[in-house]
Symmetry: C2
Subunit: 351 residues, 2 copies
């Protein structure tokens, strides 16, 4: 197989050297551009298999480079990896949506870099060789086939979001719909005092962020990755066309929305009139139903903060209730999570 060609766009020469040295270890062919402008030119000329690009650069920064490349039909599907400084990403709560397929934070381990590069090259190969077979069709992550929709996903490569990464923030303008392919995402709203209420958990096969597209409004909730996740990003235009042209897809969405309304209505009633004790019991039961995501049965892995933000209470109140439940022999608290011991009694409490 031909050696893969990688384009590195990085203005800091020391850093560039560093990256190049690491990549050379695996026999990649490296092109280096010292700024965004020449990076663009080099990309068009060399047609690399993958692009690594620093975010912070004079003149044309990484976002600019990405933006321009995404308009280029020959390069828009080339894997694009950001090199981001610690300070920028450490504060993930700033709501950045990187827009690249993946990213690496500086400083980084050589192994991390190689891994990310390899994964991205492999995925790109898969997409190419599979032709029009959807990448999601290969693994069984995705429930009930989407037909039209999968066709649309083919032309999208999934982006990576690491644990705690923000996918979008309440109030931001909405440009895309999101489709979870791997991992787990929470959506939430924050009130005036900074208290958070979780509005939903989203596993593979779940759609995110489409309501603002319909309403032509900013995001009404935020989304954050609870674990490393892969998410396909469908442009607003494509989504709207799909809704408007495909009857089955439109109907599917109407049903999604309806279910959402019924569920939210029930939650309203619970939060309005049930005690914390009742809501905790209910939340544990629901979490237990849903979150068999790979883990043992009857095992709930969530931070106290997240559980309390589902219930709409403080961690302290939650914790007291959990302690009560533990003392009453209803649940078991281990290092790794919660296990329900007496489901019938919990059900009784939750009503």
């Amino acid at each position: 197989m031909l050696a893969k060609k990688i384009l590195l766009i990085e203005d800091n020469l020391e850093m560039a050297e560093n990256v190049i040295n690491i990549l050379r270890l695996v026999n990649y062919k490296i092109e280096h551009a010292p700024n965004g402008i020449t990076g663009l030119a080099l990309a068009k000329q060399a047609q690399p298999d993958l692009i690594i690009c620093d975010v912070v650069m004079p003149d044309l920064d990484g976002f600019g480079v990405l933006h321009i490349l995404s308009k280029d039909s020959g390069l828009c599907h080339t894997p694009f990896i950001f090199l981001t400084g610690r300070t920028e990403t450490n504060d993930r709560r700033s709501g950045m949506n990187l827009g690249a397929d993946d990213y690496i934070t500086k400083p980084f381990e050589g192994l991390d870099l190689l891994k990310v590069v390899e994964v991205r090259l492999n995925k790109a190969d898969q997409l190419k060789s599979n032709g029009h077979v959807s990448p999601t069709a290969n693994n069984s992550d995705v429930p009930n086939g989407e037909m039209d929709f999968e066709k649309l996903l083919i032309h999208q490569h999934a982006r990576t979001f690491r644990k705690k990464d923000i996918i979008f923030l309440e109030g931001q303008a909405a440009f895309d719909m999101y489709y979870v392919m791997k991992g787990e995402i929470k959506t939430y709203k924050v009130n005036h005092e900074g208290k958070e209420l979780i509005t939903g958990f989203h596993n593979p096969g779940s759609y995110l962020g489409y309501i603002p597209l319909i309403e032509e409004k900013p995001h009404h909730e935020s989304a954050e990755a609870l674990e490393d996740s892969e998410i396909a990003i469908i442009p607003k235009q494509d989504f709207l066309e799909l809704i408007n042209s495909s009857r089955t897809f439109g109907q599917k969405f109407i049903r999604l929305l309806s279910q959402n309304i019924i569920a939210t209505g029930n939650r309203l009633l619970d939060i309005a009139y049930q005690s914390v004790r009742q809501r905790v019991a209910g939340a544990l039961l629901k979490a237990n139903q849903i979150s068999h995501h790979g883990s043992e049965k009857d095992f709930i892995i969530m931070t106290r903060k997240d559980i309390s933000n589902v219930i709409g209470t403080t961690t302290e109140s939650l914790n007291r209730t959990l302690a009560d439940f533990r003392d009453e022999g209803l649940i078991e608290v281990t290092d790794h999570g919660l296990r329900i011991l007496n489901q019938p009694k919990l059900i009784r409490i939750s009503k």
Copy 2:
């Protein structure tokens, strides 16, 4: 004009005499059937302009008569009025959905009877003479034209629901969508302990009860008339066809659902974390925005119970908060309702 022909189906002869005597005063032509079976036969033969029918009868009761007539293309649009006993209707909370165009409770005043009959005859005339022009197009109650939808409404006559009548109850099977043409409706959910949470107010132009039709599930909330109202009833089949065939209508519904989701999400956040004081302020402001329904500006007419059921608290807590607001000069409490005196400060409190 020809004398109108009215068919009375009533097994109690004394009651029948009574009704006939009253109706004769206005020169109606009366046919009388002493039971449901002959009533049906007489209806088909005489083709009356209006039918008055007792609910409680041996063999075939009023509901049975109505059901059979509604299948008859020649009679299904004939105004149909129920005569119901006090005991049945007094307990309106039993969730009956009468299904008739209107009803009269025994014992009744002669004037009431005549009024109801006259109103129904007039409406039927209007429908006939207007041909394919929607009756709703004549008055400006209904916002932004519905196009396809109005055509569908033509073939429906509105049913009357009196104040406090139940339109549908949570848990009941859902057969129809409802379209408010006049009056005001509240939808609400009730929890295990009988506490009520109001999920919405619906004015003319508003749709009700369609979500269960989409989901093929029982009603997820109940609906009750807050004042005398007129509601068109669209059969499930018609609604589903409309959703599936009309692009614009489907889109319209997607938007309705989306708005609902955004609004409910915000309410969740409020109820979860805001104090009663904050929620009362918010509710007053919102009620003030919406409920200029004919009444004076800045004037809120709602029972304390309804306000507290919007907020998710008890009437006592609500009332204490209202008393506070009154003492602080933020609102004025009169015999007929509440008036907001200091909107800016209320806004500040609500956040």
